[in-house]
């Protein structure tokens, strides 16, 4: 097989916040092939959204920095790209759909305008019929009305569909979906996800699916990467990870999932808080919360190493000596 569609190599991202440096993403490597769906899972604040935004360099210039790493898209290093080629990739070959449909659309422009604009800047010109068919494609009722509407005039679900339409407007090869359904209620969630699935198949897109909810990714992704404290702690085929999580954090995430038909019982919650990324604990960052913590955890930082066909960073599977960094 050829090069992967997206290849992230040893990427780190720093934030400046309150005058302190925050290591939001640390030494992350990922690969995503054409047409494949990769889920990135973790609690909020683990750096997964930062990772997603870093791909398209959408992080605020003033407050963030990428001290190291490379992001290859079709063998092109996105981080080294000039403004114009980068712009052509944004919304063209790589599209994004954001978490909050309420704030993601410009309130003073009509939905139609915002869609057409996207096609226009990628050489598609302004084509009302095409825009309307796009709206139909994301199964929006009464596309004519939506076309003319301002964002606040349509419902949240409709807005997210509009965002989806925006994302697929230029038939991207890669869609970054950053918690696309978190802000919506459960019934809408499923509709949007099904729509996303359908579009993926039709358009043969790859999807980088960012979520904190493992339940959402179990059915819809090919592979999974679990992030904790800015690092990937486990990576592998979705089915493998779901059925037999290696890392205690993955296991804890899975336990906290409401199971179908068993939702009445109390869900176990992972004790403690994810760490402040400006002061990550020494050793394994998860050790203060880990149910299976043992001696080396506080001392040594585990490395992400292959184990049984996937990768995991945990002293349970690799001796700390080997993991020395």
């Amino acid at each position: 097989m050829a090069d992967p569609l997206l290849k992230i190599e040893n990427l780190s991202v720093d934030y400046r916040r309150h005058g302190k440096r925050v290591h939001a993403v640390r030494d992350v490597s990922l690969e995503l092939n054409e047409g494949e769906t990769l889920g990135v899972v973790g609690e909020s604040g683990c750096g997964k959204s930062t990772l997603a935004m870093a791909v398209l360099r959408l992080l605020p210039d003033r407050d963030s920095r990428i001290p190291g790493g490379k992001i290859f898209f079709r063998s092109q290093d996105l981080l080294a790209l000039d403004a114009e080629p980068l712009r052509r990739i944004r919304g063209g070959q790589i599209a994004v759909i954001f978490q909050d449909p309420f704030s993601a659309l410009n309130p003073v422009l009509t939905v139609g305008d915002q869609l057409e604009e996207s096609m226009e800047v990628h050489g598609g010109g302004r084509d009302r019929a095409k825009t309307l068919s796009l709206l139909e494609r994301v199964r929006l009722p009464d596309p004519e009305r939506i076309y003319r509407a301002y964002p606040h005039q349509i419902s949240g679900g409709q807005r997210q569909r509009a965002c989806l339409a925006l994302a697929i407007a230029n038939r991207p090869a890669l869609l970054i979906a950053d918690e696309p359904t978190t802000a919506l209620d459960v019934t809408l969630q499923k509709e949007i996800l099904d729509l996303l699935d359908g579009l993926r198949r039709d358009l043969k897109m790859a999807i980088l699916f960012i979520t904190h909810n493992m339940g959402l990714v179990s059915q819809r992704t090919d592979r999974l990467a679990v992030m904790y404290a800015g690092e990937i702690v486990e990576r592998g085929k979705t089915a493998d990870v779901m059925s037999a999580p290696l890392h205690p954090y993955t296991a804890a995430l899975l336990r906290s999932l409401p199971r179908l038909h068993k939702s009445a019982g109390k869900l176990p919650i992972i004790p403690g808080q994810p760490p402040d990324l400006s002061a990550v604990p020494g050793g394994c960052p998860f050790h203060p919360r880990c149910p299976r913590v043992f001696d080396p955890c506080a001392e040594h930082i585990p490395a992400l190493l292959p184990h049984e066909g996937r990768s995991v960073s945990c002293h349970l599977y690799h001796s700390p000596v080997a993991a020395g960094r």
């Binding site: 959408l58 712009r87 990739i89 410009n106 309130p107 003073v108 604009e117 800047v121 965002c163």
Partner: protein, 325 residues
């Protein structure tokens, strides 16, 4: 919403009465009478002549009667006649209004023309040397004593360089000029006052645009605009600026009274025949009808301006425009 505006309109009436009452009240605090200007220390004016004048101006009546008389006339939009030259107050105001409007509208246009780019540049290059220099520049304009700057400009551009006329609205030979020459003559006379007043007024709008833009740039929809591959200048000029400028539209309403009310010091220095001189001279000469007229019209314009600002806001911002539809 129409009901809301109707209520607002209705509320103007007591407000206006309150304002005129206060103005009238303050005038009653004043020692002396308008007739003093004519009779004080004028050996030719006997005590009887003084009495006669006081009677003729109706100043012998108790103040509440005077106020009631004024109010009755005002209800018929009759502002009375100036004590200084017995001409209708409205005509005196009408004579000076075009000149003041010409000056203020020109300088407002210039302010918009300069302050917008400054504000945008400052925001886009936040904290850069550009931002800092422009900040200092606009604040120098704000902080400089106007007359001082005006005199400096007159000496430099009028006297030393001889580029522009020093003061006045037009040349003495204006009436003999062709239309084109007349326009040029007006422009040359307006140049100094407009430049000076625009420079001193830059700070407000440019800071407003800068801070507003910085606020808007943080919004999700700007990230969306970038993510869909818009060129940066289009992101700023279309998406961000449009949102920033919506409140500015209301500024125009709020500026209405400023457009009409000239600055006294300014108009005096530039020998400019405007409203500021009328108002100030009226105060100094105790020309009650003119004071009441100028004060009331200024207050009225403020009220109308506020009202228009609300209406304009509602019209420009689709979030409000389509509310309840």
């Amino acid at each position: 919403m129409p009901a809301y505006f109707a209520k607002r309109l209705l509320f103007l009436v007591p407000l206006l009465v309150g304002i005129t009452l206060v103005t009238f009240g303050v005038m009653q605090l004043a020692p002396g009478k308008p007739t003093d200007m004519v009779t004080d220390m004028n050996v030719k004016a006997s005590a009887e002549a003084k009495e006669r004048l006081i009677k003729l101006y109706g100043l012998d009546k108790p103040w509440h009667v005077q106020y009631w008389d004024w109010l009755k006339r005002f209800a018929r939009l009759d502002f009375g006649r100036s004590f200084r030259d017995d001409r209708p107050v409205l005509r005196k105001i009408g004579e000076r209004l075009p000149a003041t409007l010409l000056l203020n509208v020109s300088s407002l246009l210039l302010i918009f023309l300069i302050a917008l780019p400054i504000g945008i540049l400052s925001a886009v290059k936040q904290d850069s040397l550009w931002d800092k220099s422009l900040t200092v520049f606009v604040f120098i304009g704000f902080s400089v004593p106007t007359i001082w700057l005006a005199l400096l400009a007159m000496i430099t551009f009028g006297l030393k360089l001889g580029w522009l006329p020093i003061s006045g609205l037009r040349s003495l030979t204006y009436d003999e000029m062709s239309l084109g020459a007349q326009c040029l003559d007006l422009a040359r006379h307006l140049a100094l006052p407009v430049l000076v007043s625009a420079f001193t007024g830059l700070a407000g709008l440019s800071r407003y645009v800068r801070n507003g833009l910085l606020e808007v740039i943080r919004q999700d929809y700007i990230r969306t605009a970038r993510a869909k591959g818009l060129p940066e200048n289009r992101v700023i000029l279309k998406h961000a600026l449009r949102n920033t400028l919506i409140p500015v539209v209301t500024l125009v309403g709020l500026l209405l009274p400023d457009l009409i009310g000239g600055s006294f010091i300014f108009e005096t220095i530039f020998a400019y025949p405007g409203m500021g001189r009328l108002g100030f001279d009226a105060i100094m000469a105790r020309d009650y009808p003119v004071i009441m007229g100028v004060g009331t019209i200024a207050a009225l314009l403020t009220l109308v301006g506020n009202f228009l600002a609300d209406v304009a806001y509602a019209y420009v911002d689709p979030r409000i425009r389509y509310q309840g539809k």
